[in-house]
Structures are given as structure tokens and as C-alpha cells.
Amino acid sequence: MLRVFRSKPKYATVRSTIPASQFDDEQTAVKKEIPDNLWIRCENCASVLYSKECSKAKGICSKCGYHFRISALERLNIIADENSFKPFPPLVAVNPLDFPGYEEKITNAQQTTKLDDAILIGEARIDGHLCVLGIIDFSFIGGSMGSVVGEQLTRGFEYGIQKQIPVVIFSGGGGGARMQEGIFSLMQMAKTAQAVGKFKQAGLLYISVLTHPTMGGVYASFASLGDIILAEPKALIGFAGPRIVEETTRQKLPEGFQTAEYALQNGMIDKIVNRNEMKETIAKLLSFHL
């Protein structure tokens, strides 16, 4: 997880995910250094938090309310009704460009996240409302979209049409498109955008939730096409990464550049929702669209 994060230091943050102790098997527990497992430093207020407690609090800093990145499985627990999730048949990435090291990257990510690829997707109930629920996991190669994520999302929207149910997608992918799959990952932007288009034409509701960070090709396709776009507080949202913007323009970035608050102020999203109120808010929105 950390290795992936270090290799792509697009953002100034230091630590990424909460060590989700409940998901750790022995192997990963051994790999991790002890302080990592026990304590975690808040990226926002620098408070040192007891990681188990923070994990219990849905990954929200008890001192300042900062929302840590959480894994797809953790988010599933927070959002979906218990035992309601039925995942789609799993798909696994191949290496279409023979990009060096890609297979290992995939295998490592699969081992750390327990996911097949960067998305967890299937049918679920949210407060009793049946829907397609997709969650992108940043820990899987930056939550980037390759062929698998693109196909699963597309199947998600197609399934939604078939069953006439809403789609809720949580996006959080720093890199956007998955570079190692080259042109194939770029084309997933078109594929998913079209899937959303067809879904909307069927008169169905798509709620897009932007979590930290939603950037690049993910933001410039399905993630910004929701009928309703929600975001978690302070989530980084944008097309070009802040470092690229700074390097290109040689300008100092404004305070809070590309945060959810900034996007809200500029009219790009509907609402910022605290993680504690996310399930309730989505359920409410779903109930308005019965």
C-alpha cells in the first residue's frame, strides 16, 4: 500500500490509509511496522490517533474531523446494509501493453487489498433500497481505472438498466486512468461515460460520490456525470494533479485548491456530506426517486 503511494507522490500528504486491522491477516501484519499498526498521524491536524479507535470512527479524525482514506471493504460496511452485498463476477487485469512490472503490481495490490482490481461492485441495499453499489479503492494502484474497472462499471450501469435500479458509485482514484494499460485505459473513459449516458436515458438515478482523491480520467468520465454529485469533506477533486498545475503555471496554488469545498464553491458538485451522514443522505436521495 505504502509502496504504491510512495512511487506516485502526486500529493503532499504523507500517510494514506488507516491500517484496517480487521482486514489484516498475519502476513501483512508482519510486514507492517508496529507503530503503523497502532498509531496514525492525522494528515490535517497532525494529531496522533489510536488507529483502532480511528478505524471504529469510520476513519474520521476525532480531533479535527478529517476524513482518512478508507478501503473499499470498510466503506462497504459503512454504506451497505448488512449482508446485502452481492458482488458481480470477478474480472482480472491482463497486461495488454506488456508493460514491465505490471503483473507484479497487480499481484501485490491483490494481496494487500484482497480485491481483484481497484473496484468493489455489485448489488446492494442501502437502508433497504436496492441499488448497484460500486466503490473504488485507492490502495489498488491508486484506484486507477483500467479495463477491469471500466468493464465492471459498465456492467454496473447495464445491470442497473436491466433491473431498473439506481447506481451509486464512490470514486477515489488519484491517478485516474491506469497508465500501465495505455490506450486501453483511456478508452475506458469513453466506455464508462457512454454507459452512464445510456443509464440516464433509461430515466434512472445515478449518484456519484467523490472521495479523496478523485482526479484525472476517473473525474473526467463517469465520476463527474452523476445526476447528483456528492463529495466527502476536503476530498481532492480535479483533472490535472496539483503538482502538474503548479509546475505548468508557475503560480502559487490558491488556498484549498481542488478540495471538495473549492469544487462546491465553483459549482461543480451538489453537496459535501460528512462520512457519518453519508448513508443516511444517500438513502434519503434514493427514497426521493422511487
Binding site: 471493504l73 452481492k86 501493453l97 490506450i183 449516458g197
Partner: protein, 345 residues
């Protein structure tokens, strides 16, 4: 030619020698025709060797040649009576994207293209061909207008990427690219997209969803520019040439992958050596594409377009799901149940 690449140097020297010999023959009246034809043969061989074996990075540099024809050049050479239409009706007129109505073999079409500048002054006005959200909004507006009046759309793509600027982000660069991609997919009019130079990422795809996708011989199309890829992989953008090899960005690669439909051959030495000849080629390909598309009912055109993108992607269905589920169950997790009816197809 003002810009000569290092790999062209031997050829240029040889061409100069031939030129010298020619003037020597004319001035002195001595017959060196054997030597001359020998040299010309060598030059011909060298030309083929050099331009048929360009590396991906050399192609990128060819695509960026300052004298390469731009959208406005093609508008002049391929189309008639171009009337430029400006503005996104919301914020501004982005000069990095030009668009409007033109005649093509006697029929009105809408042409939209990214415009780079020839010199510094023009490049500043055109923002080096890096569009802002208002550029894409203008493109979308003109494409919808084309749909309304049943005009085919031709897009000419030559862009490293959408502009990564503060204001561009503020005005929704990502969002507008998504909207372009989505809405272009459903437009009820034939669309021909041509990557004439650079096809960089979402900024290219935003006007790149079409029924025929063509590339000039020395153009590239990729999810990320080689420089940025090198920057991510090795924190060193000077290793772009290596990254270009990895990314498979050449027209031949993309044709093999089924991403593009055809490669438009350029004059030997590149499009910049002969704008007229390049334009003739482009014209022939557009003509053929449009006449093919016009034979199909519009519903079919749109369906084919959607199906084309729907099918792009390489992956395998997984077989070892059970093990993973068990593992998670053991660690007492709330659990994805086995899927019963998850497949949307």
C-alpha cells in the same frame, strides 16, 4: 527546412552533396550523371531506412514539428469556404480550439480542431494548443449544432492535453471533458476523428469519440504523454524516449489494438515537407469515411459507435473467487456473498 532532427542529418548532408554536384555539373558542363544517380539512389535508400524505422519517440518529435500542418492549414487545403464560429456562449472564446462550418466536396460539414501556433506570439494567443474548458464547451456546442442540421462532424486532433491551469480547474476541466465524451457518443450524425499530430489523454478523447478514428503516420495517441509517464515512473521526464517505447503510442500499435481504423500515410520525411500532399491524403480518407458512413442508417451509425467503445478492454474472467471469499470469512468480515445474478450482459 528550419528544423532538422538529428536522425535526418546524414540524409540532409547527402541531399546537400547532390545539390552541389548538380550545380557543379551545370556550371562546368562535365558529365557526372552516373555519380549523380548513384548518390540519388543512396539518398532514396537512406530516406526509406530513416523514415520507416522511426522510434516511438522520434514519431512524437515528428508530430511536434513546428512546421507540421495545423487545423487551420487543413481548413484551407482540404475544405472550402470555412466560416469560423466563436465562443462557448458561457464564458469566452478559446482560441486553442477552432470550429465552424465548411464545405467538403460541395457538402456542408462542421469542422472542429485543436490549433497550435506557428510562432511565439501566435502560440501565446492559442495557449500552445492547450484548451480550456470553454474550448471544449465551444466544441460541444458546435457539434450539437451539426447534429441539429444533419451535418457530418470532422475533428482534427493535435493536443498534448487539456490545459492544466488553475482557472481551467476552477471552471471544470474534468467535468466538461466528461460531458463532451458522453454527448459526442450519442450524436445522431456521422463523426470522423483524425489525430493529425498529438493525441494526449482526455484532452484528445474529448473530441475523439467518432465513427471513424484515423491517425496520420507520424502522430501519437496515448493515455499520458511520454514525458509525464517518465516523470511518474522514474521522476525524470528526460527519459521520455523510454516511456514512449512502453506506452505503445504509434499508429501501427493502435491499429493492431483495434483502437483506430486506419493510418494516413504522410509524404516521405513527414507532413511538414509537403502540406499539399498531406492534405490530399487527408481529403481522400475523409471522403471515403463519409461515403461509407452515409450508406448506413443513422441509428446504425450511433449503435456501431456505442458498440465499438463498449467492447474495448482487455481482461479475463477470474476463477479463484472462492478462496478469497473464504479468507475474508475466516477473518470475520462482513462478506460479499457469492454472486447469483451479477452479470449485466
Amino acid at each position: 527546412m528550419s528544423t532538422i532532427f538529428e536522425w535526418e542529418q546524414p540524409l540532409v548532408e547527402l541531399e546537400e552533396k547532390i545539390q552541389e554536384l548538380r550545380s557543379f555539373i551545370t556550371e562546368q558542363g562535365i558529365d557526372f550523371s552516373n555519380e549523380l544517380s548513384e548518390l540519388e539512389k543512396r539518398a532514396e535508400k537512406l530516406r526509406t531506412e530513416i523514415y520507416e524505422r522511426l522510434t516511438p519517440w522520434q514519431k512524437v518529435r515528428m508530430a511536434r514539428h513546428p512546421e507540421r500542418p495545423t487545423t487551420l492549414d487543413y481548413l484551407e487545403l482540404v475544405f472550402d469556404d470555412f466560416i469560423e464560429l466563436h465562443g462557448d456562449r458561457t464564458y469566452a472564446d478559446d482560441q486553442a480550439i477552432v470550429g465552424g462550418i465548411a464545405g467538403f466536396l460541395g457538402e456542408p460539414v462542421t469542422v472542429i480542431g485543436v490549433q497550435k501556433g506557428r510562432d511565439t506570439k501566435e502560440n501565446i494567443a492559442r495557449n500552445f494548443g492547450l484548451p480550456h474548458p470553454e474550448g471544449y464547451r465551444k466544441a460541444l456546442r458546435l457539434m450539437k449544432q451539426a447534429e441539429k442540421f444533419g451535418r457530418p462532424i470532422i475533428t482534427l486532433i493535435d493536443v498534448v492535453g487539456a490545459y492544466p491551469g488553475i482557472e481551467a480547474e476552477q471552471r471544470g476541466q474534468g467535468l466538461v471533458i466528461a460531458e463532451c465524451i458522453e454527448q459526442m457518443s450519442f450524436l445522431r450524425t456521422p463523426i470522423v476523428c483524425i489525430i493529425t499530430g498529438e493525441g494526449g489523454s482526455g484532452g484528445a478523447l474529448a473530441i475523439g469519440v467518432g465513427d471513424r478514428i484515423l491517425m496520420l503516420e507520424h502522430a501519437w495517441y496515448s493515455v499520458i504523454s511520454p514525458e509525464m509517464c517518465a516523470n511518474i515512473l522514474w521522476k525524470d521526464s528526460s527519459r521520455a524516449a523510454e516511456a514512449a517505447n512502453l506506452l505503445k503510442i504509434m499508429p501501427t500499435d493502435l491499429l493492431k489494438f483495434g483502437i483506430i481504423d486506419d493510418v494516413i500515410t504522410e509524404p516521405i520525411g513527414g507532413a511538414h515537407r509537403d502540406h499539399q500532399a498531406t492534405a490530399r491524403q487527408l481529403k481522400a480518407f475523409i471522403q471515403r469515411s463519409l461515403s461509407e458512413l452515409k450508406k448506413l442508417p443513422l441509428d446504425q451509425v450511433v449503435d456501431n459507435r456505442l458498440q465499438r467503445f463498449r467492447n474495448i478492454g482487455k481482461f479475463t474472467e477470474k476463477v479463484y473467487q472462492e478462496q478469497v471469499v473464504e479468507k475474508l470469512t475466516d477473518s470475520d468480515q462482513m462478506l460479499p456473498e457469492q454472486n447469483e445474478n451479477g452479470d449485466g450482459e
